[in-house]
């Protein structure tokens, strides 16, 4: 709805304190209305029972059919779904927006468990490119290796790979945590903006290239630093956080996190000073 001038009458959202901004000039905004039931309905989500468990063999299913079947099972209340014979198929387990225990007995292809918000996923195999891309929340644990663009643009949640990962891990990351037990390829943390990446092994060239913000911890050798990525001293908070996170991720037992290298943005590429305050807020 377009509001071309300031309205005198308060909406219910404003009177509840949910919206306090005074609008001036030309603006366009859709107000939240708590009276409308659909505003409380999160489309495509289900209440599931973790104790209700089922196996799903996807050997002869196309990825769309398999995903539809997972959706059907969630709608029937199944909270623990075990996927048999994924056999490297692409785009399995994508777009799950509720709590769920999802277990893959095998390997996934590209774009596995992308755009998820909430499920706990265990993959007893390997994953291809762009695993968990755009993840909002939840936890994904991969027992073997992962391909390139691992955790691209994730906003939240924990993404754990116990093996090695390919290039551009955490590209465009906006939040959440990525933990890798093995090595990582070139351009790890490329253009990352928020969140943390933990690599227990070695990383390739151009680590943290053009990163805006966020933190990368590396346990092994670093091929080279990317543009504007700089080393920063490890603090006690870093060490405590790493210990806790690795313990929760069940990875790197007895790993000496104090010897890890911490990499952050040098912020020399930041040009926010040239912006107006409102633009600066948007840019950051």
């Amino acid at each position: 709805m377009a509001n071309l001038k300031t309205s005198e009458k308060k909406t219910k959202a404003q009177s509840m304190g949910l919206h306090t901004e005074v609008l001036t000039g030309k603006t366009q905004q859709k107000f939240f209305n708590p009276d409308e039931a659909e505003n409380f309905y999160y489309w495509g989500t289900y209440d599931v029972d973790f104790n209700k468990r089922i196996d799903l063999d996807v050997k002869d299913l196309e990825c769309k059919e398999a995903n539809k079947k997972i959706d059907e099972l969630m709608s029937q209340g199944y909270g623990t779904i075990v996927i048999k014979n994924p056999q490297g198929k692409h785009s399995l387990g994508v777009g799950i927006l509720n709590k769920l225990n999802l277990i893959f007995e095998g390997s996934l292809g590209y774009f596995g468990v992308g755009s998820i918000d909430g499920p706990t996923v265990r993959i007893n195999g390997r994953v291809g490119w762009s695993c968990a891309e755009n993840m909002m929340a939840g936890k994904v644990v991969i027992e073997k290796n992962a391909g390139s663009c691992f955790g691209a643009a994730i906003r939240g949640g924990d993404l754990v790979c116990k093996g090695s990962v390919g290039a551009r891990t955490g590209i465009d990351q906006k939040g959440g945590t990525i933990i890798v037990g093995g090595d990582a390829g070139a351009f790890t943390g490329f253009m990352m903006q928020r969140g943390r990446i933990v690599i227990l092994g070695d990383v390739g060239i151009n680590l943290g290239d053009s990163m805006y913000d966020g933190t990368i911890y590396v346990g092994g050798k670093i091929g080279s630093f990317g543009s504007d990525a700089v080393e920063s001293p490890m603090t006690k908070s870093d060490i405590d956080w790493l210990k806790r996170k690795l313990k929760v991720a069940e990875i790197g037992e007895n790993y000496d996190v104090s010897k890890m290298t911490k990499v952050v943005a040098g912020k020399k590429l930041w040009n926010y000073d040239a912006l107006e305050p409102t633009e600066k807020k948007g840019a950051i």
């Binding site: 056999q87 390997s107 390997r126 073997k144 391909g147 990962v165 390919g166 390829g185 070139a186």
Partner: protein, 314 residues
């Protein structure tokens, strides 16, 4: 996009035509403008096998101009006359399709340059491959279509590489299809996924050194580049390592010789590759599903890192 796949059996032979067909068919969503196979068969190693194209497939979305079949007949006669002129003897001749010939020839010289130049001086004729075990078969359509058309299912050999092509840099035709023969080296073939951005600069340099290009497909540069390195005494692996800096762009490519199979990945690692290695088999492809067509059971695979070069022997 394009998809590539390759496999090598160590210490045994298998139906590599059938196996590669399965791998490439699993990658058909990456492109099915054309599909090509480079198969290394079990041969006595005495005679050369030459695959020759005397025309283009003008059906199935081809960008080629139609020619009368009588033109192909005339070219075939000239090809066979040239083979005799070069002192080679035709042991067996097959005409699989009107525009596709296969010859088994007895030729006692190792330098194939003069021989190839003579054959390719005939207008519209291109040698797709020449070697004592290599056979390059490429045509328009997906892997199954090409495999059925050329009866590749039963071909037994040790290793193979193949390519499913989505035409981006050049036309939909056989001359731009992969694999490319490492002209004029016996039994060398290359498939590539990616784009090379210094194609024309390198092509000019290599042409000035006497190397030949048959298409305007950037991928052909890799075959010619490696052939030129080997002509100057470099080993295959040395040539491949050199290509990481000599070739600009994004690429993952496979190269095969009579007894080896290699892979190289550019320093940006921008093109995918999944690899499976065991004591008796190495299989690799643009996507895991290609390997799964061969090994459906749970296996350990990995992505090679940026700038990696690997070579395996049979």
């Amino acid at each position: 996009m394009c998809g590539i796949a390759g496999l090598i059996h160590r210490g045994k032979s298998s139906k590599v035509g059938h196996e590669l067909q399965g791998m490439l068919q699993a990658l058909k969503h990456r492109g099915e403008d054309s599909t090509g196979y480079a198969l290394y068969g079990d041969t006595e190693g005495k005679n050369f096998i030459m695959r020759v194209k005397i025309g283009e497939n003008v059906g199935e979305g081809s960008s080629s101009v139609a020619e009368d079949v009588s033109v192909y007949d005339e070219r075939k006669k000239v090809v066979e006359s040239c083979i005799s002129e070069m002192g080679a003897k035709i042991i067996k001749a097959d005409r699989v399709l009107p525009y596709s010939l296969r010859y088994e020839i007895e030729y006692n010289k190792d330098d194939l340059l003069n021989f190839s130049q003579k054959i390719e001086s005939i207008e519209g004729v291109e040698i797709l491959s020449m070697g004592k075990s290599l056979e390059v078969i490429k045509d328009l359509g997906n892997a199954k279509m090409v495999c059925d058309r050329y009866n590749l299912d039963k071909l037994v050999g040790t290793h193979a590489i193949g390519h499913a092509r989505m035409a981006t840099e050049s036309g939909v035709d056989i001359k731009s299809a992969h694999p490319f023969w490492g002209y004029p080296f016996s039994d060398v073939s290359v498939v590539h996924n990616g784009q090379l951005t210094n194609y024309w600069n390198n092509r000019r340099i290599l042409e000035n050194k006497g190397m030949r290009f048959m298409s305007e497909c950037d991928s052909e540069l890799i075959a010619v580049y490696l052939a030129e390195k080997m002509r100057n005494g470099a080993s295959l692996e040395e040539g491949m390592k050199d290509s990481l800096s000599g070739l600009d762009g994004v690429f993952t490519y496979f190269v095969a010789t009579k007894d080896s199979l290699g892979m190289a990945k550019d320093t940006m690692a921008a093109k995918p590759l999944v690899l499976y290695e065991s004591d008796d088999l190495v299989a690799m492809g643009s996507e895991e599903i290609a390997i799964r067509s061969l090994l459906p059971q749970e296996i350990d695979t990995y992505d090679p890192f940026d700038g990696e070069v690997k070579v395996w022997q049979i």
